[in-house]
Amino acid sequence: MDRKSLGVAAFLALAAAGATTAYAQKDKALESIDAYREALQDGNPAELYEATGEELWKTPAGPKNASLEKCDLGLGAGVVQGAYAQLPRHFADTDRVQDLESRLLTCMETLQGKDPKPYIQASFKDPPKEEMNALSAYISGLSKGMPINVRPTHPKELAMVELGRRMFFFEGGPYDFSCATCHGQEGTRIRMQELPYIPSAKGAASGWTSWPAYRVSSGEMWSMQWRINDCFRQQRFPEPVYASDATIALSLYMAATASGATMKTPGIKR
């Protein structure tokens, strides 16, 4: 249950007096739908983050005082257009399967001479991660309208997609939850939140084509790493390390399952 519904649940627990709860919940739900509509009318606030991300991409920074413009996101040095739609993938220079965020860390280190550690360790609301969220918004925006093209062929990609599928079904923690507990059935909900059935092409696409996304309920720009991190929190797991293999494996599993669907990033979500 994400922060918002936790808040609602806590509020309801306090107010739990039979009939009034239904109305309280309804008001709350309508309120958030109104905020959502309002945000849509003004355009997706993610645009602001895209602009910030573009600046971060093009402005020289770090010990080497270099920009990220020569970063190879898989389509050659400096090609951003369409790059997000073919990630995660294997990169020869690192000999690793990388998602967008782990690849950005590589470029920050090699091109700009930055230490990736503070970026990995910062909380999602701290400045280093704000940079990553903005860069994700910008780069994913340049794949909007393009088909996802993630078809594992390299042996490391084939292994990673299987590791991701295995991670998806891996149960643990005090609630025995796995990703599949919440996303392994067609047409279910947690409270009022609809849950995509991720093992299907349609369900995987629902998630993969719309994140990174601006979240109206919290007023934040969430990268895909943040989305996955918060689902692990709800799963009662220990915290996944930022850009770790488990998060990349899950991403590859989702992207490969969704391959062919059209990118709508950056999305806008409740």
């Binding site: 590791l163 025995d176 409270r191 009662r236």
Partner: protein, 211 residues
């Protein structure tokens, strides 16, 4: 050290899973050793959510390969796992089955507890509305589990009905090896008094569930 335990748990559970499936469940590069190595580098302790949560018990390991666990070849193993879970159920110490349904409703509403943003000294919620319709008044309910509307009206309060419901809440895997429902008593999420209140929510004729 903890990582070694994770690895050991995976390695122990692996062969049994592969056997029941008849073939390896996961493609090349995702065998037990590779998977354990990935877990080891990918997670860290945060707040009360420590790495030991990745160490699976037998039930969790079995249910993490749903294809194998649900097949006919695994029927005997499912029964074994259900029996082992049934053996963990602690029956009410004072013979009282039903508490206060109003307290049960509060618990069922609360989804809080045991995430890395929760504190160890906060009481846990029961999470029931996240997955179940329960009272007709609460329209914001999940659908991962079946509707429990009218549960007590249908079941009554015979000894059998009381026992089955208590066991379901204490350890949901006692009657369904790979149930999606948490094992609230067994995992220490809820205590005996709280389960009594939830029993009343479902079974007390005065509860809105049965009106």
């Amino acid at each position: 050290m903890k990582h070694l335990v994770v690895l050991a748990a995976l390695l122990l559970s692996g062969p049994a899973l592969a056997q029941s499936a008849g073939k390896p469940a996961w493609g090349p590069g995702a065998d037990d050793a590779a998977f354990a190595a990935m877990l080891k580098t990918s997670f860290k302790d945060k707040g009360i959510a420590k790495l030991d949560r990745l160490t699976q018990d037998e039930t969790q390991a079995f249910c993490s390969d749903p294809g194998a666990a649900s097949g006919p070849a695994a029927a005997a193993q499912r029964e074994k796992i259900e029996a082992a879970n049934m053996a963990t159920v602690k029956w009410p110490s004072d013979g009282k089955w039903l508490g206060d349904w109003k307290e049960g409703e509060k618990l069922a509403q609360s989804g809080r507890g045991l995430t890395w943003t929760d504190k160890a000294d906060q009481p846990n919620g029961a999470n029931c509305y996240n997955c179940h319709q329960i009272t007709p008044q609460e329209i914001s309910h999940g659908t991962i589990g079946p509707s429990l509307l009218g549960y007590g009206k249908v079941r009554g309060t015979s000894e059998d009905a009381l026992k089955a419901t208590w066991a379901k809440i204490w350890n949901a895997k006692a009657s369904n090896a790979c149930s999606l429902m948490p094992r609230s008593g067994h995992m220490g999420i809820l205590g005996e008094a709280q389960i009594r209140h939830l029993m009343a929510l479902l079974l007390d004729p005065q509860s809105p569930v049965n009106k």
